[in-house]
């Protein structure tokens, strides 16, 4: 089975994250770039299957040159190979274009199962896996809290406001996972040393055909403004009466 995991380089959530107010794009120099934690979980789902089954795991990303560091981490964690879609024309690409490009790459690469994080911690669109599945014309099972992979199907559970849905689909399929799925493994030293010898393929838009390269209808950011600084708010220091004060605060605003 060939499992392709979509991974994205994002600013570390530990640091302050900023937009470049001129372009409306993410300020990538502003904080350390890391593999998105949710994508690490997506990779973990693939690697957990690979631990006891015959499977090839490929990490695929679209991103700037610096994304290669994150691909190396994916390889160190256990992916067998990586694909990097790298093209300066793609800088600032919106969700729709990104999905077209990734779908074109997946078609070229071949896949049985595509696993993504449910939403990236920077863009937070949460629809990329669905757009990709639509382009590919395969089933989508998104926002899975648990994943069970078999040789020809996937199954899992997703939470809704009212309860839990059990979903399943035949392969090939696209799935996305939530942060309720298993925490990712640490890459170990051996994995890090092995990562260097694993293949990383770089594709430009030209490699992916006219469909992906064509300038599509796309959204652009017209204006951005910085969020106003948060005002002080009310602080309650607990001297034994904090509970009462809190209740009074809420009651005064008719919240309880």
């Amino acid at each position: 089975m060939k499992i392709v995991v979509l991974v994205k380089q994002v600013p570390d959530t530990w640091g302050a994250r900023r937009l470049n107010l001129d372009t409306g794009w993410l300020d990538r120099g502003g904080s350390e770039a890391v593999i998105d934690e949710i994508d690490e979980r997506a990779l973990e789902a693939a690697l957990a299957y690979q631990d006891s089954n015959d499977a090839e795991v490929v990490a695929l990303t679209m991103g700037p040159d610096s994304a290669k560091d994150m691909l190396r981490k994916s390889l160190a964690m256990g992916a067998d190979s990586a694909v990097h879609i790298l093209d300066s024309r793609l800088a600032g690409a919106d969700l729709a274009w990104t999905a077209r490009v990734i779908a074109a790459a997946l078609t070229k690469l071949g896949y049985d199962l595509v696993i993504a994080g449910n939403e990236s911690t920077d863009g937070r669109g949460g629809v990329l896996p669905a757009l990709v599945a639509e382009h590919l014309g395969v089933p989508l099972a998104s926002y899975l809290d648990s994943v069970a992979i078999t040789a020809d199907s996937i199954a899992g559970e997703r939470s809704t406001e009212l309860g839990t849905m059990s979903v399943r689909a035949p392969l090939p399929a696209v799935i996305s996972v939530t942060e309720r799925t298993a925490e990712a493994r640490f890459p170990n030293f051996k994995g890090i040393l092995r990562a260097k010898k694993k293949p990383v393929t770089v594709w430009s838009l030209d490699d992916l055909g006219a469909d992906a390269a064509a300038s599509p209808v796309r959204s652009v950011v017209l204006a951005t403004s910085e969020r106003p600084a948060r005002s002080a708010g009310t602080q309650i220091v607990d001297d034994g009466t904090a509970g009462v004060e809190l209740a009074e605060f809420l009651a005064a605003r008719h919240l309880i």
Binding site: R72, F186, P187, N188, F189, L193, K196
Partner: protein
């Protein structure tokens, strides 16, 4: 000259991740409670920290001493004590890997590599520390077994470890009469003293190891009879680099905390960082630590190459790096004012931990002895 390659950068990143997540948040609490976190050591084993420079066929990571110097510096930023214990464990593993037969390597190393089992290095005795070649623990050949008797003093990890690498006398007085043995926990006659109460290194136990008619099969002997002292000293070459790296990591962390503290702490109408007298102290700390780092990496690469002067360089690095790191950590405490003296800030712990690095694995006086003898020998 010392630019890390991509692979080393990835190793360091992985260690930083581990230290940030698994060590740093607990370091003060473990120190205060004198708690030895064996579970976390198992996780360290999973990362590859259990057998850093042992061969891969027995579960080792197959890295170099230069890699190890980077790894221990980073690890010590999270917890100097735990980093230092991991170094001692690695010393034991390397000695078995380097001097053991294939059968011994395959038997002892895999569980040590994962840190399911821990190792202790047993050289020092109550009456033989710096003059280790005067050790008095005996091993007498009796049929296909050796009978070991004696007391080992200050043994790190003792009581928690599964594997004790014991240097004992099988022959003549002096270094040539010493042999190395692997003694597993649970062997009848093997017992431990109380956990010593000490200034630092509180998150790892230090105990006497007591051997009373301990019988081990002949195939527990590491190397030849009489070869034990050389094995013990070779283990220490790498150990000393690691101890230096642990000091450096602790001191570098303390320096960075001090910069942060002085930037936010105000007195006399402005942040303390604006006091040039303090800034100059920071500059000196940074300069000395950078010099220490250069010497450490130089010594590590010379040990990797097996240069003739590697032993002397390792001694120089151990002496210099542990001295300037202790001084820097102590300055960091001073510049924190009263807060530096509080456990919660972590600085006083680093000072206490680093102090012992000037004493163990050969005191810094003994390092001078090694370096001094080498220069005299060179001159002849």
């Amino acid at each position: 000259m010392f630019i890390l390659d991509e692979e080393q950068q990835d190793l360091v990143d992985a260690v930083r991740d581990f230290a940030n997540r698994q060590l740093a948040p607990h370091a003060v609490e473990w120190d205060q409670a004198k708690f030895f976190p064996v579970d976390v050591l198992r996780e360290a084993g999973g990362l590859g920290l259990g057998a850093i420079y042992a061969h891969e066929d027995v579960g080792g990571s197959g890295l170099t001493r230069s890699d190890a110097a980077l790894i221990f510096e980073e690890l010590a930023r999270g917890d100097t004590t735990i980093a230092a214990y991991i170094s001692i464990h690695n010393m034991v593993v390397w000695m078995i890997d380097r001097f053991g037969t294939d059968e011994q390597r395959r038997r002892w190393i895999p569980p040590l590599a994962t840190m399911e089992q821990l190792g202790s290095y047993c050289l020092t005795e109550p009456d033989a520390g710096s003059d280790a070649a005067a050790l008095r623990t005996t091993a007498i050949l009796d049929g296909d077994h050796y009978l070991l008797n004696g007391v080992k003093q200050f043994i790190s990890g003792a009581g928690a470890s599964s594997v004790y690498l014991v240097m004992a006398r099988t022959g003549e007085p002096g270094p040539h009469g010493i042999t190395a043995f692997v003694v597993p926990a649970g062997t009848p006659g093997l017992s431990f003293g109380q956990n010593e109460r000490k200034m630092g290194w509180n998150a790892q136990p230090t105990r006497q190891v007591i051997l009373e008619n301990v019988r081990v099969p002949v195939n527990h002997r590491l190397g030849e009879e009489g070869g034990g002292f050389v094995i013990a000293m070779k283990g220490l070459d790498g150990g000393r680099l690691n101890m230096a790296a642990c000091s450096l990591g602790g001191a570098q962390w303390a320096l960075e905390r001090t910069v942060a503290h002085l930037r936010t702490r105000t007195a006399f109408g402005g942040p303390l960082i604006d006091q040039q007298a303090l800034l100059f102290q920071l500059a000196d700390m940074a300069t000395e630590l950078e010099a220490a780092r250069s010497l450490l990496r130089h010594a590590a690469s010379s040990l990797d190459r097996g240069d003739a002067d590697a032993v002397s360089l390792c001694a120089m690095a151990k002496r210099f790096v542990t001295d300037v790191s202790f001084t820097a950590a102590n300055t960091a405490l001073q510049l924190h004012g009263g807060y530096g003296y509080l456990a919660d800030y972590g600085i006083e712990k680093v000072v206490r931990d680093l102090r012992v690095h000037q004493i163990l694995e050969g005191t810094n006086e003994i390092m001078r002895l090694i370096v001094g003898r080498a220069i005299v020998e060179d001159a002849q």
